[in-house]
């Protein structure tokens, strides 16, 4: 096994170095072709790092600490895979498009942020890389510079910064609780259950990470952002970047301590989002938007798993959630990439292409033998046998339905040229992602010592996984056949409310501006000066 330090450092420094190299115009020009190489050191680190000894950067007083623990490694591994394939996909995608340099810069920033978040072991580093991820992602979303893209970017960065500020307060509160000067996340999580501000901190963390994870009602940015972003960007954002919030929850929330109330709330919110995403998603036409709503649903489901873990105080729920997330990383990535591939494929070659898409898509609903089914088995334990499990099954049905809707929508985007085929440089990255999404979950599943988890090939489990899929398929047939018109819900649904709020804001702004203009008149300012003098004098006298 290799040394830990250089691997961890390389994982971070390599993309960072590429990012800095972009300052040189010559490098910037070529950078889009080399995006796929940036995450390779990170992937290597996951493969070769054996221990969790931390990498400490900086003097003792205030330093950054990086480490590769099991949840981080799992997510980093699959995320790095996705970043590699999506990077390879992006290179032909960008050819001849404007702003390629900017895309590369934002891509690398988001990538560095993503890797950093997965590796960070202290709060400052976590926050720093989360911010970098947000900024980079925002840049990717606005890539096309359409009005929609700008609006989506504004929504994304606004909610993102709000989330980060909430997290910042939570971190500051946590830092106050950590004994000594350290800022390690592990210490913070350990100190959290006994903190005097426990409930406040947990609420802030959940709100902050919830916004980032697209928990209803903070999901509004997802449909808009993913619809606006270029395909490869949407793939990494929905696949890899959004998992930072899941990792954050797992790192910060005290999952080993039973917190039934908070857990119940979290689980309920997650399950609600899991169903809500499906319902709204069904009304959508554009494949990207459907996938975005599926992300809302899936992220909700993962959050629900964490919530159930909190109820029981069961730390294993974390790993289950991570496994589920890891599967989702690759599946969602592959599905987003497929949008570009199908759009470049003619009707003649459609079906060979569509088959893997359909398998992966329905796999998300739990099709036996796919990663989705494995993930469902893994999370079955934490979900328990109660209402949560029922809702989970319901969500599996819904997901299947939604995925079929996606495939159906995908067919309509097929290229008008009958004979067209996707370029190999688009096709192969997509296919390898798809393959990875099938293989990697198995590899991970098999790495778990035998006996811990039920045998996925057991007939009753196969049936249990199959029947929601069948139900979903039947439902899809019913809906397509008989429900003539689905209601049309705008992308981002309740964001419309926000939009109308934004329309009111100028009136308020105008009032404040007028008041400020008033205050800027000479005699008003003079009188304020005198009044303040007296007020301050009185306040100083007041004991």
């Amino acid at each position: 096994m290799m040394e830990t330090y250089p691997l961890l450092a390389g994982a971070l420094l390599f993309p960072l170095g590429m990012l800095l190299a972009c300052l040189w115009p010559g490098a910037l020009l070529r950078m889009p072709s080399y995006l796929a190489f940036a995450p390779i050191p990170a992937f290597a680190a996951v493969l070769f790092v054996a221990d969790v000894s931390p990498l400490v950067v900086g003097p003792p007083r205030l330093h950054l600490t990086f480490t590769l623990d099991l949840p981080g490694a799992l997510l980093l591994g699959v995320a790095a895979l996705l970043w590699i394939t999506a990077g390879a996909y992006a290179s032909p995608y960008l050819q001849g498009r404007p702003n390629r340099g900017r895309f590369a810069v934002c891509w690398l920033a988001a990538l560095t942020g993503c890797i950093g978040v997965f590796l960070a072991a202290d709060m400052v580093g976590f926050y720093l890389f989360l911010a970098m991820l947000t900024l980079g992602a925002c840049g990717l979303i606005i890539q096309h510079e359409t009005a929609d893209a700008w609006r989506a970017g504004a929504l994304y960065i606004g909610l993102g910064l709000l989330a980060e500020t909430l997290l910042l307060i939570a971190f500051v509160l946590l830092a106050a609780d950590i004994p000594g000067n350290g800022l390690l996340i592990a210490d913070a999580a350990a100190a959290l259950p006994t903190s005097p501000h426990r409930d406040l901190i947990i609420s802030l963390l959940i709100a902050g990470f919830g916004m980032k994870a697209g928990l209803v009602p903070f999901h509004v940015w997802m449909p808009r952002a993913y619809a606006a972003a270029p395909t490869p960007a949407a793939a990494v954002l929905s696949g890899a970047a959004v998992k930072a919030s899941i990792l954050g929850m797992i790192r910060f929330l005290p999952l080993d301590t039973a917190l039934p109330h908070t857990g119940t709330l979290l689980a309920a919110a997650g399950l609600f989002a899991a169903l809500y995403g499906v319902v709204i998603g069904m009304t959508q036409r554009r494949p990207k938007v459907v996938l975005a709503y599926s992300s809302v649903s899936q992220m909700g489901f993962i959050v629900a798993v964490i919530g159930m873990g909190m109820i029981a105080g069961d730390g294993r729920a974390a790993l289950a959630a991570i496994f589920y997330s890891a599967n989702h990383v690759l599946v969602k990535g592959a599905l987003f990439l497929s949008i570009g591939v199908i759009a470049a494929t003619g009707r003649r070659y459609l079906w060979p292409m569509l088959l893997p898409v359909a398998i992966i898509a329905v796999g998300l609903g739990g099709l036996p033998l796919t990663g989705g089914a494995l993930a469902k088995i893994v999370v079955d334990g934490p979900l328990g046998d109660g209402a949560a499990n029922t809702v989970a099954t319901l969500s599996a049905v819904g997901t299947t339905l939604l995925m079929l809707q996606f495939v159906r929508g995908l067919i309509t985007t097929v290229s008008t040229d009958q004979e067209a085929t996707a370029a190999p440089s688009l096709f192969w990255p997509w296919l390898s992602t798809a393959a990875a999404s099938l293989v990697v979950p198995w590899a991970l599943f098999l790495a778990v010592p035998e006996g811990m988890l039920p045998n996925p090939l057991a007939p009753e489990l196969l049936w249990k996984a199959l029947f929601p899929v069948l139900l979903g398929a039947i439902l899809a047939a019913v809906v397509w056949r008989w429900v003539r018109r689905l209601p049309h819900i705008p992308e981002g649904d309740i964001v419309v409310v926000l939009d109308s709020c934004v329309k009111i804001a100028p009136a308020w702004g105008k009032t404040i501006e007028q008041a400020e203009g008033m205050l800027r008149r000479w005699h008003v300012a003079g009188i304020s000066l005198l009044a303040l003098t007296l007020a301050l004098g009185a306040a100083l006298l007041a004991q």
Binding site: L530, A531, L534
Partner: protein
């Protein structure tokens, strides 16, 4: 009640009345005239406060030069066409009320002096002899708090450059306006021929005597400046172009010498702005003399305003 207190009370009443009328009279011209009177009254107040140095400064600069500046401004601006938008009655009432409260607060402070009034007068007197100065105020200005005085000279220079910076670009380097009379007036010329010799002697005397008695560089410089302005206004001499090297040199000569002696103190008296033992008085007098010149030029140029005509080549 002694005669002195009656006089003081009357003086204060007069100062307040004239001060208030400066604010309240209708035209700017009347206000400026009132202000000139006010300046003179204030000098008397300073004499009553046993601060003759301040009285001289107030009369020369606070009343005299400032009055001159204001008068010039009024004469040029013709206050009739200034916009006469007055602020509303409620605003004035509010401002008046708040001002009254501030005054009340200050009055309370004035009426409650600390039990033991702190003073530096004995310390000043104790440390004055080595400098050879007889005037404690001059001692404070040039020995103990010389840094303030040096900075203040820089402030004046900056203000002058600030005034000059208001010139239109084409007039840069040219001569200041200062054209009050279209053609020279015989009585004025007469005055401008008669008065300056007296004034110059007087100004130098003020500067010289400042080391021992009330007076000093500023007061002397102001008188010199007034004489120069008189000569220029009367048309006997043209205002100098601001790009003239001698003008610039005169302006900085005082502060430069002050600074140089201060820096020399570093070498010869082991502290910045300290004077070597035994040489204090001559050095201070030298500084004062040069400063007087610099101040005279600076004040005159400040009063003359920004350059308005391009320099004739």
């Amino acid at each position: 009640m002694s005669i002195a207190s009656v006089f003081d009370i009357a003086l204060v009443a007069l100062i307040l009345a004239i001060g208030a009328s400066t604010i309240l009279v209708r035209t700017a011209f009347a206000a400026v005239v009132m202000f000139a009177v006010y300046g003179l009254l204030l000098s008397i107040a300073w004499v009553r406060l046993h601060a003759v140095d301040v009285a001289l400064t107030e009369a020369a600069i606070g009343g005299g030069m400032t009055g001159l500046l204001l008068l010039g401004a009024v004469a040029r601006s013709r206050s009739d066409d200034v916009d006469r938008v007055r602020v509303g009655y409620p605003v004035r009432l509010a401002a008046g009320g708040l001002c009254a409260l501030v005054v009340a607060g200050l009055a309370i402070v004035v009426l409650h002096p600390p039990a033991a009034v702190p003073t530096l007068a004995p310390v000043v007197m104790e440390n004055l002899p080595p400098s050879g100065l007889g005037n404690p105020v001059a001692g404070v200005l040039f020995v103990f708090r010389a840094l303030d005085t040096l900075l203040e000279k820089v402030v004046v220079l900056l203000a002058l450059l600030g005034v000059w910076s208001l010139a239109p670009d084409r007039a840069w380097g040219g001569t200041p306006g200062l054209q009050v009379y279209a053609k020279p007036d015989p009585p004025l010329i007469f005055l401008a021929q008669l008065l300056p010799p007296v004034g110059i002697v007087f100004g130098i005397y003020m500067c010289w005597v400042g080391a021992k008695d009330p007076g000093g560089a500023f007061q002397g410089g102001t008188v010199l400046a007034a004489m120069w302005l008189l000569v220029i206004v009367a048309g006997l001499q043209k205002a100098p172009a601001i790009s003239r090297l001698w003008l610039r040199g005169l302006l900085i000569a005082g502060p430069m010498l002050f600074l140089a002696i201060g820096l020399a103190g570093w070498v010869f008296a082991d502290a910045f702005l300290a004077y070597p033992e035994g040489y204090a008085k001559p050095l201070i007098v030298a500084v004062e003399a040069t400063l007087t010149l610099s101040i005279a030029v600076a004040l005159a140029m400040l009063a003359a305003g920004p350059p308005e005509r391009a320099q004739q080549q």
